[in-house]
């Protein structure tokens, strides 16, 4: 049950996970904001990382405190000199992403989100096969069977079932199945679930399930899988939940097989998938880059044109291959999400708390920026990828927006060239 009713405090939309829960309240008088209406561990942990800064945030150049304008000027000069910049992290909102694309297009930077591998699973699925998806309200209204594919859901999305009101008394109460993982502890009261295919990699079982759903002959089929296949075929509206970050390395095979199951079901009944992911701004940035340029992340405006490389342009690979000579790291939501340890020079934009975790070093500019949904307004895309939710500032810490810093970097680089 929620820890306390959201009776007092700031009516808040939580920006710290892509469910973007909007039924909570926040009290911001205390050093650490107090969450009302939820005991979501993910939100609580995020808020604990965003204690009110004890003093005015300070930009740094090579470990030395400097004024904001000086840090921006220094960062612009360094960025302009890099031959192949990498923009990593990408933890920002839509305004930040709009400014970031303009900067990336001007500098030829390669852009990859902190959770780029998981994000690319969804992107490549859409590029290769397409998908049938649903949204939170649709799931609540319609689902009579929800299958959580290889994800406990609540480990990383603790509010999910409450958010979709699947625990509501008198609500629709769809059948709930965990596939490939055990039934997690801590489900909301009243939710009953069963689990199957819980030992090891469940991909072979998923293949079998796809065959059973398609009424193909499967020798020695698992009775549990056969039962689930029957249940899926009988459901009026089944939803397969999946979480790219929770899948093994062959995530794309998983994703395509899930879509095959849903496509088969949609021949005679209704079914859909819902993805859990794209948090920390990654989903929003990917959408913005796609609409501005036509191409998603892991793209650069390089000498040969707009090059999109969903595998080769992964940040970890580029850094390991010494293929980039500078890293601009952006993480406005999570101060603990530090840039990867790399010898290449860095420009880091993050909340003030990040400065304390970043060991001072040469070749680094740090610029403190605001967190949309906490101390700045903004917009984020929800996990279902079709609803953009506005965020309001719950407190004023006197910080600039990342979008502002990125735009000024672009202006300086544009003026210099």
């Amino acid at each position: 049950m929620p820890a306390s009713a959201p009776s007092s405090g700031f009516a808040w939309t939580c920006p710290f996970c892509p469910l973007l829960c909007d039924d909570f309240a926040l009290e911001t008088d205390a050093l650490v904001p107090v969450l009302r209406g939820s005991d979501c561990p993910r939100a609580l942990a995020a808020l604990a990382r965003h204690a009110r800064p004890p003093q005015a945030a300070q930009a740094r150049v090579d470990g030395q405190p400097v004024a904001l304008a000086q840090a921006i000027a220094e960062a612009a000069g360094r960025l302009a000199a890099w031959r192949q910049p990498l923009f990593g992290g990408l933890g920002t909102d839509i305004a930040g992403a709009r400014a970031l694309y303009r900067l990336a297009a001007r500098t030829g930077a390669i852009c990859d989100a902190a959770d780029g591998d998981a994000l690319m699973t969804g992107v490549r699925l859409q590029q290769d096969r397409g998908q049938f998806t649903t949204t939170l309200a649709e799931l609540r209204a319609r689902a009579d069977l929800v299958v959580c594919m290889q994800t406990s859901v609540i480990e990383r999305y603790p509010e999910f079932f409450r958010r979709c009101e699947l625990d509501a008394p008198g609500g629709p109460r769809p059948a709930l199945v965990f596939f490939g993982v055990p039934v997690p502890a801590g489900l909301p009261t009243g939710l009953e679930a069963r689990a199957l295919a819980t030992s090891g990699d469940a991909f072979p079982q998923l293949q079998q399930l796809a065959a059973l759903v398609a009424l193909q002959r499967v020798p020695q089929a698992s009775p549990a899988l056969a039962e689930l296949a029957t249940q899926l075929r009988a459901a009026r509206y089944a939803v397969l939940l999946w979480e790219p970050a929770a899948l093994p390395s062959h995530a794309l095979l998983w994703a395509e097989m899930l879509q095959r199951v849903v496509a088969t079901l949609n021949r005679h009944t209704r079914a859909s998938t819902l993805v859990l992911g794209g948090g920390d701004g990654a989903g929003s940035v990917n959408q913005v880059f796609t609409w501005l340029s036509g191409l998603p992340l892991r793209t650069r405006a390089g000498p040969d044109g707009l090059e999109h490389e969903p595998l080769r342009f992964g940040a970890a690979r580029l850094l390991a291959d010494h293929a980039v000579d500078g890293l601009l790291w952006l993480s406005t939501f999570d101060p603990s999400r530090l840039p990867p340890a790399t010898p290449v020079p860095r420009i880091v934009l993050g909340p003030p708390a990040m400065a304390r975790a970043l060991p001072a070093r040469r070749d680094e500019v740090f610029i403190p920026v605001a967190t949309p949904g906490l101390n700045a307004a903004g917009h984020l895309m929800r996990t279902d990828g079709l609803v953009i939710v506005p965020l309001a500032a719950a407190r004023d810490d006197g910080l600039v927006d990342a979008a502002h810093v990125l735009a000024r970097l672009g202006e300086r680089i544009g003026a210099a060239s």
Binding site: T135, E165, W291, L295, P296, I388
Partner: protein
């Protein structure tokens, strides 16, 4: 306050009955002004040997919103040139952006402006996705824009209709939705059919009942047309009729016109809704039947949704019909979504082939419609970008309409049965520049209630395209020598020279605020649109639209 005179072009300005006469156009402060021809100006541009028209107005083009972005993601092959990457723009003013049938928003703005278009309207904004639609349109440089919000498949409307709610309440709900989403108009897509598909209904004709709500598309069309009329919106209800793409669907289209009972309605991409089931293949042109119906119903306007051959991607709110067509996808992949008890979408790549009997017939049906409807003021030139073809094919389409020998040449390349039997070969009509100016400028602006756009009378916005005159209409409309947006040059000799942020057109209807209580009861739950952010405010709209101006049209309520 600088004045600029465009000297010596032949002007085609149908809203002011100017048909090719040589007229100077003088601009000041973004407006067309009257000035003595001898009076001095700050700048004079010699445009003799050219034709001048108002900037083009595209009233139906899928330029922004969730399904458009899904189309971009679905089509990586549209964003490279074979195995090579898409080259960077040669023009330093342009930011890298690419795509042919699913271009990025930046490329969308550049390419439209390069053809002399200065406004484009997204016809299928999902209410729960309205912010994204406005953001994407705000990121289309140069063009003014606006959107029609989709209604008639949202559960709240269907529930109210099923409950026999007072038409005034329905009107207020429609008004509130326009207000909340900052729409310019209202569109209905496959009335009640998108919702029905969520209940596993696979077909819904005009008088069939939605399996759950038990309402018919006829009731939905009638109720929405009445609400739009009573609210006083300039643009009639924008209707994507039932049974898109289905052989014999002309009956549904004519029934939809009848459902309006004389109220204004704009039937969109009618090419996809004008099919008979005659002949050996049970698929035939019903263009004449539709043209006659349009002629007979002065309350009806249309846009065509012409198909042109080649690769495209179809992006529609019509989940029911897109799911049915998904097996025809080329390449074989597609995406669909059920959205927020509100709407849906389906994105299906498609390659129209000259040698396909069906595609060839679709091509002829579109052209037959253009050439057979008598009143050009009720016909708008569209390809339903990108569903029939990308908007960049407009110059080619214009040549097809203006040049009978060219049209015959193209017809001869099609599937032989179509080439031999189509009535198109006997249609001698060639549209004039005056008629093209109506269908691409004056009529769409009038149908949208944009009094100062689509025309170049005194006081009009100085959105102007200058095309050096030449015999080949395709070449001419591909490359204006000048394009002005609100009086400022944005294109010079086919090259973008400025990228201002466009304005957003919104309608401001009056409605009984009491409806908000009902909506809040419905929406004020922990998901769906939270009542706290269900309405996009003026300032937020500006943020979404990249700081562009908000051009609000007041609506004068009307009675039946």
């Amino acid at each position: 306050m600088t004045t600029c005179r465009l000297r010596g072009a032949r002007l085609f300005d149908p809203a002011n009955q100017v048909d090719g006469q040589v007229r100077d156009i003088v601009m000041r402060d973004g407006r067309v002004i009257a000035l003595d021809p001898r009076a001095a100006v700050d700048e004079e541009i010699d445009v003799r040997g050219s034709i001048a028209m108002a900037g083009g107005v595209d009233l139906h083009s899928h330029i922004g919103g969730g399904k458009v972005n899904l189309a971009r993601l679905l089509m990586p092959q549209d964003h490279r040139r074979g195995i090579d990457p898409w080259p960077l723009p040669a023009d330093p003013l342009e930011l890298a952006s690419c795509g042919h049938c699913a271009p990025g928003t930046l490329a969308t703005g550049y390419r439209y402006a390069e053809m002399g278009y200065t406004s484009a309207f997204e016809p299928a904004m999902v209410a729960s996705n309205a912010r994204q639609a406005h953001m994407e349109m705000g990121d289309v440089p140069i063009l003014d824009h606006g959107a029609y919000v989709m209604l008639g498949n949202d559960e709240l409307f269907l529930q109210m209709l099923a409950a026999g709610e007072d038409p005034q309440r329905l009107r207020d709900y429609v008004g509130w939705t326009i207000h909340a989403t900052k729409a310019l108009g209202v569109k209905v897509v496959n009335p009640a059919g998108i919702s029905a598909f969520k209940f596993n209904q696979r077909q819904l004709d005009v008088d069939e009942r939605h399996v759950h709500w038990q309402v018919t598309p006829r009731q939905v069309v009638r109720a929405l047309a009445r609400a739009v009329h009573e609210l006083g919106l300039a643009h009639p209800l924008h209707i994507h009729a039932s049974n898109l793409g289905v052989a014999g669907n002309i009956e549904s289209t004519l029934a939809t016109i009848a459902a309006l009972e004389g109220l204004p309605g704009h039937l969109t991409h009618v090419q996809f809704h004008s099919y008979g089931r005659e002949g050996p293949r049970k698929f035939s042109s019903a263009a004449l039947a539709l043209a006659e119906a349009v002629d007979a119903h002065p309350n009806v306007s249309i846009d065509i949704g012409q198909i042109l051959f080649g690769q495209t991607v179809t992006a529609s709110g019509d989940t029911m019909r897109q799911a049915a067509n998904a097996d025809l996808a080329s390449p074989r992949k597609w995406s669909g979504a059920d959205i927020e008890c509100d709407a849906g979408c389906g994105v299906v790549p498609f390659r129209y082939r000259e040698q396909s009997y069906v595609n060839a017939l679709q091509w002829t049906i579109g052209l037959e419609l253009f050439l057979q409807v008598r009143d050009p003021w009720r016909v708008v030139l569209t390809t339903d970008h990108p569903n029939g073809a990308p908007f960049t094919s407009y110059p080619h389409l214009i040549r097809l309409l203006m040049d009978k020998p060219f049209r015959d040449e193209q017809l001869a390349r099609l599937h032989p049965d179509v080439a031999a039997q189509s009535p198109l070969k006997d249609m001698a009509r060639e549209l004039t520049l005056y008629e093209i100016a109506i269908m691409t400028r004056a009529a769409p602006a009038r149908l949208l209630g944009l009094a100062d756009r689509g025309q170049l009378g005194v006081g009009a916005a100085a959105d102007i395209a200058i095309y050096p005159e030449q015999g080949d209409a395709e070449a001419m409309f591909s490359r204006p020598s000048w394009v002005f947006k609100d009086g400022e040059p944005v294109v010079r000799d086919g090259r973008v020279v400025a990228t201002p942020v466009g304005a957003v057109h919104v309608a401001v209807p009056q409605f009984d605020g009491g409806i908000e209580a009902l909506v809040a009861r419905r929406l004020g739950r922990p998901l769906g649109m939270h009542k706290r952010w269900a309405v996009i405010g003026h300032d937020e709209l500006c943020t979404c639209c990249n700081g562009g101006r908000v051009l609000a049209s007041a609506c004068a309520p009307r009675s039946l």
